[in-house]
């Protein structure tokens, strides 16, 4: 291989960091990427990125991790950027002198208006050099992205940018929405550039290995429901439909692979004509798929709402796999919410309407599993029958109230299957006001902390 040894070491260390971050990089792929390095122009950094990506990055979900690590291991510049880039635009007068915040903000406004990525990236380097450094201890310095972003506060430029972009068009309509979207995108890109630059400076001070361990964020599907930020939840919601589609394909494939049914006489005879009347191949009728009826009873109080919403969305996205889906929500009393989920309707809207229109609070708006379960049994006695799979979603944190365990026992006995999905880690069950102990003996309780675990559970729920 013609690649220099130093470069080869770098490559191997980079691929190793990818492995640490959770990507599977096989030896064959290491060989491929080494060969690829020999084939391309190594001075072209983006070509190198694309080459590595083609060889080792096999799942789109890993893209962010890959890019973060690539930027750390193969930085575009090293050291103080003003040596490489030269000062940007109007800053040329100052010749590398740090500008004051206002001047930086003016520059940023122009760049955001213009939207050219390369100059924005150069500006990010310059601004981190100028504003991002702070003393952490006597004689020690570190780099901080929040210092930069707080001083520049790009979001506050929104109003004047909108004004400039709309050029006197009507506010409040489509044009504004579109302009706003464009600006938000650019601001977000700029923030990411600043963060990447800060990581690069930190890596130069403390070593790449150190930084690459902390820089990587977990994948959305592995984020705990209870700790998910708003961004994570939005990302998860975007994944509901692809996830449902993937699950559905896998389930139908599994059904088809299963035992085939009775002999299809007509097709067998028809096929035998091709072989002179000798039935060489027999054809069978497909099995009628077993479709369970699903009843979801979910806690939608603040602490676990994110989890309940995601699971409800998934249940509705998968509704073709069930004969019927009925949803009930509760906080301290229970109401049917099936009516909000019309077929083909927008599930996110349904969730919003559910929280505002359904009658879920009876006493004080704190979770009350006991009263909710009693009420569910009393008001909807026909909901749970011998064909029903009953799913209860919640963390079983009951604020030290009655558990309604006896009613639950009856419900479980009436249903075909019953599962309790708990978004809390199993280690916390039964601590504090969690009453999992009272339910665990009656119903199978499953830990579902993230999207991956939920996917596994759904596969188990649908038999054959």
């Amino acid at each position: 291989m013609r690649a220099a040894t130093g470069l080869l070491d770098r490559e191997i260390a980079f691929l190793d960091a990818l492995r640490t971050a959770g990507l599977t990089v096989s030896l064959a792929e290491v060989l491929d990427s080494t060969r690829a390095m020999g084939a391309i122009d190594l001075l072209d950094r983006e070509a190198l990125r694309a080459a590595f990506a083609a060889c080792v990055l096999k799942r789109p979900a890993h893209r962010t991790t890959f890019d973060t690590l690539f930027d750390l291991w193969f930085p575009a510049v090293t050291g103080d950027p003003s040596q490489v880039d030269g000062p940007t635009g109007e800053a040329a007068e100052g010749q590398g002198e740090p500008l004051d915040t206002e001047a930086y903000r003016d520059l940023l406004r122009d760049l955001l208006m213009d939207g050219d990525e390369e100059s924005m990236r150069r500006f990010a380097r310059q601004v981190v050099q100028g504003l991002g450094r702070a003393d952490t201890a006597p004689g020690r310095q570190s780099w901080f992205s929040y210092r930069v972003l707080r001083q520049l506060s790009p979001e506050t430029l929104m109003a004047s940018l909108l004004e400039a972009m709309l050029k006197g068009q009507d506010r409040g309509g489509l044009a504004e929405k579109v302009a706003r979207q464009t600006i938000t995108e650019r601001i977000k890109a700029f923030q990411e550039m600043v963060e990447a630059e800060v990581r690069r400076r930190l890596a130069e001070d403390r070593g790449v290995e150190q930084i690459s361990k902390t820089a990587v964020q977990p994948l959305a599907e592995q984020v705990d429901f209870l700790r998910a930020s708003r961004n994570d939840m939005a990302e998860l919601r975007r994944q509901v439909f692809p996830l449902a589609r993937r699950l559905a394909t896998r389930l139908t494939a599994r059904r088809r692979l299963g035992k085939t049914g009775k002999l299809d006489f007509r097709r067998t005879v028809r096929a035998s004509l091709a072989t002179g009347g000798v039935p060489l191949v027999t054809h069978h009728k497909p099995h009628k798929p077993h479709k369970p009826e699903l009843v979801v009873l979910c806690d939608v109080s603040g602490s676990v709402a994110g989890f309940a919403h995601f699971t409800l969305m998934l249940a509705y996205a998968l509704s073709e796999q069930f004969t019927k889906v009925r949803a009930f929500a509760f906080i301290d009393t229970c109401d049917e919410v099936t009516r909000f989920f019309t077929p083909g309707g927008d599930v996110a809207d349904a969730l919003a309407r559910m929280s505002s229109e359904a009658k879920l609070v009876w006493f004080d708006g704190h979770s009350d599993y006991g009263h909710s379960i009693e009420k569910f049994d009393e008001d909807y006695p026909d909901a749970v029958g011998p064909r029903t799979s009953l799913l209860i979603l919640g963390d079983a944190r009951n604020n030290y109230r009655a558990t309604g365990a006896q009613t639950l026992k009856k419900l479980v006995a009436r249903s075909r299957h019953a599962y309790w999905l708990n978004p809390e880690p199993q280690a916390y069950w039964g601590s504090g006001d969690s009453v999992t102990g009272a339910y665990e003996d009656l119903i199978e309780m499953v830990e579902v902390r993230n999207a991956v675990q939920l996917e596994e559970f759904v596969q188990r729920l649908l038999p054959q």
């Binding site: 080459a51 489509l174 929405k177 979207q181």
Partner: protein, 288 residues
């Protein structure tokens, strides 16, 4: 056996451009590597971002023959690789006179004449430059992947009656997938991987302008921005590039030259294909 078609990454970009496909840097680098390393290229991404189009354009740019294998549920060896034409074989046996020795007939009916070559075998035997497009790989059953593993790693096929057929010239292989199911690790490992996503604003605008030259630049810009705003909403099906192009064509056909609320509202059906997406877009973009 390995005969690269492209000289450099820039060459890929230029020739694809001439064939009407605007490739960005990552796409051209990956295509260049697939060609240079002689590895199959697996292209994944949402529907309508130009996965199949890329393979077709590479075929056009290298003046290769395009052989396409469309995958579907129930695709099997007989449809993908080769099949013996048993009807013809039967005729041959029935037509033979009684005094023909069985041995002769036996050898005779398994000759080239009775072999029906399917896309994979055709691509391997083709002595001319070939692009093999295996479309929608994820739609095929898992067994087909096993078959592909063998063909794609060695570029050879063994037919028991005829022996092993080795490619005289490696075809350039493109596999596309919509990711409705995860392809197996083994298949992914043998391929280079390219995830095609919605392009950035500048490239999408360039694509629209090159595909629909009648559209004014200003309108293309507004169109692309609006589509990006739509993609940012949580929709069931985000509009793809193909739909952006359709939208541009629609506007040209209707003789409209600005994209205001009224226009968007009346032509939204071109880009959004779900009723719930329509409602959502209408409320969020305040179209009323």
């Amino acid at each position: 056996m390995l005969q690269p078609q492209f000289a450099s990454v820039a060459d890929v970009q230029e020739r694809l451009g001439a064939a009407g496909y605007l490739a960005d840097h990552a796409i051209s680098t990956t295509v260049f590597l697939a060609d240079r390393l002689g590895k199959p290229l697996l292209i994944e991404g949402p529907a309508g971002v130009g996965k199949t189009e890329l393979a077709k354009s590479v075929a056009a740019a290298t003046s290769s023959e395009l052989i396409r294998l469309q995958c579907y549920e129930g695709l099997d060896e007989a449809r993908a690789l080769y099949e013996w034409n048993y009807k013809k074989q039967l005729l041959r046996i029935q037509a033979s006179k009684d005094d023909d020795a069985w041995d002769d007939i036996h050898d005779d009916v398994f000759a080239e004449e009775f072999l029906m070559s399917r896309p994979l075998l055709t691509a391997i035997r083709n002595p001319n430059p070939t692009v093999l497009l295996i479309d929608e790989t994820d739609k095929a059953d898992v067994e087909v992947e096993g078959l592909l593993l063998e063909v794609l790693s060695d570029f050879q096929v063994t037919i028991p009656e005829l022996g092993t057929i080795v490619a005289t010239r490696r075809p350039l292989v493109f596999l596309t997938s919509n990711a409705t199911r995860e392809l197996s690790e083994a298949l992914k490992r043998r391929c280079l991987y390219l995830h095609l996503d919605y392009p950035d604003a500048a490239r999408e605008k360039a694509i629209v302008l090159s595909r629909v030259p009648e559209v004014a630049e200003q309108l293309a810009e507004a169109l692309v921005r609006t589509v990006r705003a739509l993609r940012a909403l949580e929709l069931k099906k985000s509009p793809s590039i193909a739909e952006t192009i359709d939208w541009a064509r629609t506007l040209v056909a209707l003789g409209l030259d600005t994209l205001d609320e009224e226009t968007v509202k009346s032509t939204l059906g071109v880009v959004l294909k779900h009723a719930s997406d329509h409602e959502r877009a209408a409320t969020q973009l305040k179209l009323n």
